[in-house]
């Protein structure tokens, strides 16, 4: 997205920095603030992990960052569940659900306590170990500029948690949609042993291992269904930016895992607002952005 050219012109005309001289005056004015005594009368400052572009985009739709918030959960997986068996490894699937739900609840509660109305840009980190599953969420609580915290409101009540970036949140907002929360689903399934006869028949042949294929389909269907069920439970119409992981577990190659998560969204306005993007043809070369690592070769 780019700032609207006509809007920028209006702003510049209203006194915003336009020329090199104005920009330099602005910097001198900014530097002079450091020489003044720190204002201690206001409330504490905001903390956020958003980029400056994301912060500006949020401001452009009337939202602001409030606080950096986290949610973590670690759930146990009893020993022996990864041994050979048949069907779904239900206890591992429920451990994943418990961990995701616990982490999401905690980050929503932190958001509520900070006075946020939702969390954007949530980094989702899921680790599946043989005996425990860790889910780690961190993001920035945001709210409409000047919005009040609801006194007496239950922590996290009404706060959405979204792994969409602030840029994506802005686009959704402009299109008339709102995020409701993180939907997730997981399933871990045994790939059953082949019978001795089947193994003998397949020896030396290039054939599909249907036990693995079927296990993958089984895990996929269960996980996607669970993710969609959590979305429906939130009152959502769909899930966007779905991420999936799939494959055999590193510590149990005969067990197939499939996990999926994304942000549940609902149309807030009567109908989707089409954004009709403007086609632009850039004449400049590709911009080389400042990259800290480039200093180290």
């Amino acid at each position: 997205m780019t700032a609207a050219a006509d809007g920028r012109d209006e702003r510049d005309g209203a006194g915003g920095p336009a020329s090199v001289g104005d920009r330099r005056d602005e910097v001198r004015r900014a530097v002079s603030v450091l020489g003044r005594a720190e204002d201690r009368s206001g409330t504490r400052g905001a903390t956020s992990d958003l980029s400056i572009d994301e912060a500006l985009l949020l401001h452009s739709i009337g939202w602001e960052p409030v606080d950096l918030v986290c949610g973590v959960s670690v759930t146990s997986v009893p020993g022996g569940v990864w041994n050979w068996g048949q069907g779904e490894i239900a206890v591992a699937s429920s451990a994943h659900e418990l961990a995701f739900r616990g982490a999401a609840t905690r980050i929503a509660n932190e958001c509520g306590r900070a006075g946020g109305h939702g969390v954007v840009g949530v980094h989702v980190d899921v680790e599946v170990h043989s005996h425990h599953i860790n889910v780690d969420l961190v993001g920035t609580a945001v709210r409409p500029v000047g919005a009040e915290t609801h006194p007496g409101a239950a922590p996290g009540a009404g706060s959405f948690v979204s792994d969409l970036s602030a840029r994506d949140f802005t686009l959704l907002h402009q299109a008339g949609w709102t995020p409701l929360g993180l939907s997730f689903g997981a399933s871990f399934v045994y790939a059953p042993r082949r019978s001795a006869g089947t193994a003998l028949k397949q020896k030396g042949q290039n054939v599909e291992l249907t036990n693995f294929t079927e296990a993958m389909y089984s895990a996929r269907e269960a996980a996607m269904e669970r993710m969609q069920a959590t979305a429906i439970a939130m009152g959502g119409q769909g899930v966007v930016e779905v991420k999936v992981t799939e494959g055999p577990m590193s510590f149990a190659h005969h067990a197939i895992g499939f996990t999926a998560w994304g942000t549940t969204v609902r149309l807030e306005t009567g109908a989707h607002r089409y954004l009709t993007p403007q086609v632009v043809l850039a004449l400049d070369d590709a911009t080389v952005e400042f990259a800290a690592t480039s200093l180290r070769g």
Binding site: M1, T2, A4, G7, R11, G16, R23, R24, V27, R28, R29, A30, V31, L34, E38, R44, G45, A46, T47, S48, D49, L50, I52, D53, L56, H59, S60, G62, L68, C70, V72, S73, V74, T75, S76, V77, P78, G79, G80, V91, A92, A95, L98, A99, H131, H132, D136, V138, T170, L275, P277, Q278, V280, A282, V288, E289, F290, S294, L295, R296
Partner: protein, 311 residues
């Protein structure tokens, strides 16, 4: 706002605290800069003139057995886990009664202030040395700061390295008390920050460290042996969850203390956990970013217009 944790003792190496060779190089008359060419151009456009690539190093070693650690207090659940008042600690008691001498009858989560202080001293020393170099070249600020830490030789030996480009603001006020302002931002991103009405004040960084000393239930749950005591389903490991939430909370509180009433922009949170077996682990959270101060009223940019770019 204060900068990163202040070092206790910075060795003085030259008349202005810099190595002699660094003094000679910085006085040579030509400037150096770590900025990319677009960032260099953007900074010149804002009236920021690079005067030198400045750096700070510090190599720290610390032990796991600092004052306040369980090793130094007789391994008792009844003794305060830390000699530092206000440090986070929680004790967990076994629900089973006496089982055997090996049974973990109690466990604790406790903050490790000696690790945090050592980290703060390492980062703070490297940061102060960067600032000293910037002051030596008469800089008003340091932009495009990068920091890195890496282990050297041994698990508990860490190198801190911070560098950035010292700049002078053309026609700008010298910084208060001669202490240059610092920021991780440079180029157009720094320009956008200032245009949004925010002035960088200082790079801020901290580390929080929490040790999980597992009691029996945490040991069983983390090692998959919970069925031994009648548990067969999945359940949250309360002691570990609380330690994870605590270490993140401690890091954020400490950074807030450094910020005062300023805001934090571009926070980077990194969590490392080292599992030691039988449910024991060490969790460390580093949090850094740029402290910023508002110098003009909120002035949002116009609503963005989506574009499709023809490459």
């Amino acid at each position: 706002m204060t900068g990163p944790d202040e070092p206790e003792d910075v060795p003085a190496l030259g008349p202005d605290g810099l190595p002699e060779a660094a003094d000679r190089r910085l006085a040579s008359g030509s400037f150096s800069s770590g900025l990319s060419v677009p960032d260099f151009a953007a900074c010149l456009d804002m009236g920021m003139v690079p005067v030198g690539l400045v750096q700070g190093f510090c190599v720290m070693k610390w032990t796991s057995y600092g004052a306040g650690s369980p090793y130094m207090r007789g391994m008792s659940p009844y003794v305060a886990p830390s000699s530092q008042a206000g440090a986070y600690a929680e004790t967990y008691q076994c629900p089973h009664g006496f089982v055997s001498a090996e049974h973990r009858m109690w466990g604790q989560n406790y903050e490790q202030p000696w690790v945090e202080t050592a980290w703060g001293q390492g980062f703070g020393s490297a940061y102060q040395r960067l600032v000293d170099e910037a002051k030596a070249v008469g800089a008003h600020g340091v932009i495009g700061v990068t920091d890195s830490t890496r282990h050297l030789a041994d698990l508990n030996v860490t190198e801190f390295h911070i560098m950035g480009t010292a700049v002078v603001v053309d026609g700008g006020q010298p910084p208060p008390r001669g202490e240059p302002w610092t920021t991780y931002l440079a180029g157009q991103r720094l320009g956008k920050l200032i245009e949004a009405g925010l002035m960088p004040v200082s790079v801020v960084a901290t580390l929080a460290s929490v040790r999980v000393w597992a009691y029996c239930m945490t040991d069983y749950l983390m090692e998959g042996r919970n069925f031994t005591w009648g548990g067969s389903g999945a359940q949250e490991v309360e002691q570990v969850v609380r330690a994870h939430m605590a270490v993140r909370q401690l890091a954020r509180e400490r950074l807030r203390h450094q910020l005062g009433h300023d805001s934090l922009h571009g926070a980077r949170m990194t969590v490392h956990q080292r599992e030691l077996g039988e449910g024991d682990e060490v969790i460390e959270c580093t949090l850094s970013g740029t402290g910023v101060r508002r110098f003009k009223d909120f002035d949002p940019v116009p609503a963005a217009r989506p574009t499709v770019r023809l490459a």
